[in-house]
Amino acid sequence: MPEQALSDVKVLDLTRYIAGPYCTKLLADFGADVIKVERPGEGDPARRVGPFFQDDPHAEKSGLFLHLNTNKKGITLNLKSATGKKILKELVSNADILVESFSPRVMPSLGLDYQTLGAINPKLVMVSISNFGQSGPYRDFKASEIVEYAMGGEMYSTGIADREPLKLGGNVVQYQAGTVAAVATMGALYAAELQGSGQHADISIMETQAGGGDRRIFYLLGYACAGAITTRWPPPREAVRMVILPQGVYPCKDGFINTLSLPQWWPRYLEAMEMPELKDEPRFQNIFSMEAGLEFDALWYSWLADHTKDELFEKFLKVNIASAPLNSPEDVVNNRHLKARGFFAEIDHPETGKVAYPGAPFKMTETPWQARHPAPLLGQHNEEIYGKLLGYAREDLVKLRESGVI
């Protein structure tokens, strides 16, 4: 197997659910040795979140957990017990990076704050991911995907006028926070290696949205510089048409197609539609007129209705118009472009067998993404980590297990 970019990096992963695990997944998928620390008996709560393999709600069959924890090793450890804390500190002295995503009170209350851990290992990079950050009036507030999007992100302008604001599909706000956290982690690691000192990075999911979520960063600056408050807009067809050109989502023969166009692309549409003669028609001379837009719509909709979304995509591709079929998750998995690039990766897991997972988020020529092993079973690597790495004897492990430490 080729070398990986982070194959000499050791990560201690205390994260749960989505944001933290996605951060450490990026590190693990590019080669880092990530030890995921879970609570004995229960494990990461994401193990109890669906979708489940064959709809069987089983701790080793959560698709969410399996996806988020590829290439990690798993141990169980009770951080509330004195022995558990002692073991964690031993692991810290062996680690380059520690990532945690508890609410901000937890690590200090366990006596595992950065000051303590940084004293054990001065080169340690500690990354804390929380809803609102480690300080401020909302520090201890609870949140979920929809709350984070409402407060940090651009939910207010998502959806249409006269309806309620709309959440983005899935859990993308948390994934984005994890992605940003991976950048912060690598920045701190880079500094630690060159300058010899670790540090604590404080990641607030709210700020990852306000400073870099879908649209919000530039809408905030638009407010700061011009007082502009961006609202939800009327459905595209009812919005006042400024230009003749199609904008948005349109129905076609077998679904929907999206297109976003620039004024200079008008001739390209006519070319794609094989109706070049329209260019000279008097009614289409002013492309900023609403009447021309409505007249064009009549031709446009009936032409769309004769073609499938994939046919339309290919036609627009040929004339260099930005468009896209409105794909379902099924379409994505079967997409021929992604297949040709080998995007999906089959990963074998003892409870599910081989399943296709989303693969490399980017391709590196020297140090490629690799699926080395599937997500860990709960406590799967206890013997390896406690025995081989920390040197505990078999009898010690039995005792630790009996006392609920691991």
């Binding site: 982070l6 996605y22 590019f30 979708p51 489940f52 698709g63 996806h67 300080s135 507030f141 979920s144 409402a150 407060m151 207010y156 302008s157 309620e164 959440k167 983005l168 599909g169 899935g170 993308v172 994934y175 984005q176 940003v180 690691l189 290696e193 990641i203 700020e207 306000a210 870099g212 979520g213 649209r215 530039f218 600056l221 638009g222 407010y223 011009a226 502009a228 408050i229 961006t230 009327p234 595209p236 067809r237 919005a239 400024m242 948005g248 989502v249 999206n258 976003l260 468009s323 079929p325 409105l326 794909n327 379902s328 994505v332 472009h337 997972y357 989303p358 391709k363 590196m364 020297e366």
Partner: protein, 442 residues
Amino acid sequence: MTKLPLEGVRVVEMTVVAAGPFGTMLLADLGAEVIRVESVHHFPPATRGWMPRPPQFLVPTTGATFGGTGGLQTYVDHWAGDRPWDRWCLFNALNRNKLSCCIDLTRPQGIDVFKRLIKTSDVFFESNAAATVEKLGITYDVLKEVKQDIIYLSMPGLGCSGPHKYCTVFGAQLQALASHTWLTRYPDLDYTTTQSLLFHCDFASGATAAFAILCALRYRNRTGKGQFIDLAQIETVIPHLGEAIMDYTMNSRVQEPIGNRHPSMAPHGVYRCYGEDRWVTLSVSSEEEWQGLCRALGNPSWCKEERFSTMAGRLENQDELDRYIEEWTCRHDHYDVMYILQKEGVPAGPVLDDRDAYHDAQLQCRGFFEVVSHREAGTHRYPGMLWKMGKTPLSIRKPPPCLGEHNDHVFKDVIGMSDDEIAELEKEQIIGGDEYLVESIF
């Protein structure tokens, strides 16, 4: 520590629209010297505006203009001025801490200057359509000959290989291709009526690209080897939708949009509050949070109804449940609902519009906004850092660059060109300049 993490790293970038600029912004925030290579002969749309000199009737006067896309179009004070490209909020939001120089890469002498710049650099980062670097003759194979250990990242929408490689796409198209548009919809309306201008993908791919560069830089420090990174923006957003993808690959199930609801939590959604277009979000994931919600609402009699006593029952009866909750929320201010519910341990938060967010107590208290003075745009409070670092605090050290603002610095100090050479190439408009020579199409 005395230095920012990436101090001493030079990144040359040619990025457009939002995804690429966001990626190099994260590197610039970490202390890298990021140099934008732009051109006064070529105006890439949606990067420094939609057109070089928009007629005033296309400059929105409020955020609601153009059916609410105003935030994508806003100029400082709604005035494009003499140098619209330096006053466009989208560009200024995403390009702080960077430098800008202008080189015409369509002429051989321009390519020559560009290669001399690459020779002094660690990273080349570009986000153009896949054909662009091929046409200009600045592919990885070429630049590797100039700088053997260069790290070269290309991030076209659909990547550098595959049958749709040359496809033109913006964030909104990538959202549709990746099935994120599919999953984002009011369940009772079809797709044509749900707004489609979502750009999560731009930010997912920008952040992922910054991560890729950091991995490659560290590997280069260790081994002396550079490399090529092929980043398809779509492939950075599909992992963000992992659950929906895995539901299909594991169970052949095609997930349908559920709007503001959640597969296993109820209540979960957005509720109307007192005032015009004011809303609050909340979610209940456990018995403990349900009891908290009931307490916060003053334990009204409906809270004790049998049908709401279990999560399964609440999921089944959420239309009625939502109506009861909204009867209460609509009598309260959206922030008040947050404080009342959070006190009882219920996740809740107001839907913040741009003004609310700009004044929000948490962002204020953590010093999120930073004052920036800009030659053409004036002085304003900008959205700031995405995270905080204990020993190497990050900040906006430089305002977003005006077009060509750092021509002299780059050509003289970075590349080491002589005054004569610079004057000669400037005369032929091969390098330098600070205003677009291409006209608007109107």
